[in-house]
């Protein structure tokens, strides 16, 4: 590149980027900037603005980054547990919980059953018997109702049921 070309051609984007980043290896670019007022002003404007943004944003980030704390070793180990390991751990925890729950339920049922079996006394039995007997008597006094109930129970048609009820009314 001769002297005339150096001054007539403005900086390429590559040269410009290199100079903004502080690179001074491109002698042609440096020489051009020295002789070209337009490129020098442009380089100064962009370079200063980029540096300003860099320093402001770094100070902003230093202030805000204080909330980012190092994770605890427990959290690190848990988060870095392989997928299958985490799944196994979850299954194990669920299994233990389920087992405990089933065992507790069985104990409760056993206690309830024992309680129910041991409960009836002679008085209660007599009372139950009296009640059952009164129900039997009631049913025997109304044979139509017995028929109607039996007709419903065997799942017969509505006609049969109607017929039975008719018998009751008669």
């Amino acid at each position: 590149m001769n002297a005339q070309q150096i001054t007539s051609q403005h900086l390429t984007d590559e040269q410009f980027a290199s100079l903004v980043a502080g690179g001074r290896r491109d002698e042609d670019a440096c020489q051009h900037v020295e002789g070209c007022e337009i490129c020098r002003r442009e380089l100064d404007a962009v370079g200063v603005a980029v540096n300003d943004l860099s320093s402001f944003s770094l100070r902003w980030a230093e202030q805000r980054a204080a909330r980012i704390q190092a994770p605890s070793l427990w959290a690190l180990n848990w988060k870095t547990l392989p997928g299958w390991g985490a799944t196994m751990a979850a299954v194990l925890i669920f299994g233990v919980a389920l087992g405990t729950h089933i065992e507790t339920s069985n104990q409760t049922v056993a206690v309830q059953t024992t309680h129910t079996m041991a409960a009836p006394t002679a008085d209660e039995l007599a009372q139950d018997n009296r009640l059952m007997r009164s129900i039997d008597d009631e049913i025997n006094e109304q044979p139509g109702v017995q028929m109607a109930v039996s007709a419903l129970d065997d799942g017969s048609s509505r006609t049969v049921r109607h017929h039975s009820l008719h018998e009751v009314s008669n």
């Binding site: 410009f16 903004v20 442009e42 404007a45 943004l53 860099s54 902003w60 980054a65 980012i68 994770p71």
Partner: protein
């Protein structure tokens, strides 16, 4: 032969040093959290989300520290993890029909005016803030790749090789993104070309 061996030894030494650095999670977080937070906030424009991604980035780095080969600095490696997390997040967002307006969204131009500079006069501070805001506003209009290349080059001061490693792209592709970003900034700031 000797040169290759020397390079291998250097790489091993730097890897061991890096592994020691990566083992100490407290120190790792203290050293890199601010730069990572800035980088992710510029990428996503959401401070809370960025903080969460930075936290995930440290967990991921710690979990995969034994896979670190030592062919780049820890800073470059952490930035590449953070960038992958940003890309993952953006990929999931793309398929959401209902994108909610985030309450924590950060106007990155506000970052420029956050803190006063103690070294300059009020007028100079005002001018500096305005200049920084203008660049931040332009950065918001760039694509993620262009913005990433720009931020890594001019804020994180990485060389093109490290940017290529961070972005997982060939150097020429990085150059293309960077030069497009620079052209946009030049044009929008009233450049002559």
């Amino acid at each position: 032969m000797h040169m290759a061996m020397a390079t291998d030894i250097l790489r091993l030494t730097s890897r061991e040093r890096a592994l020691t650095e990566l083992d100490d999670i407290e120190d790792l977080v203290q050293t890199h959290r601010a730069r990572l937070l800035r980088f992710v906030t510029f990428s996503l424009g959401d401070e809370d989300l960025a903080a969460s991604i930075v936290q995930d980035c440290f967990v991921k780095a710690w979990a995969n520290r034994h896979n670190f080969r030592g062919d780049c600095s820890v800073q470059t490696w952490l930035h590449s993890i953070a960038l992958n997390l940003v890309r993952d997040y953006q990929r999931t967002q793309k398929f959401r029909f209902w994108k909610q307006v985030r309450k924590t969204a950060t106007d990155v131009t506000e970052i420029a005016g956050m803190l006063p500079s103690a070294a300059s006069s009020p007028e100079e501070q005002l001018l500096a803030r305005e200049r920084a805001r203008e660049v931040a506003r332009i950065l918001e209009t760039l694509s993620l790749n262009q913005r990433t290349a720009f931020v890594l080059r001019f804020q994180e001061e990485m060389d093109l090789g490290d940017i290529a490693k961070t972005m997982g792209m060939p150097i020429n592709t990085v150059k293309t993104h960077l030069h497009r970003a620079v052209r946009t900034v030049r044009t929008r700031m009233g450049g002559q070309r």
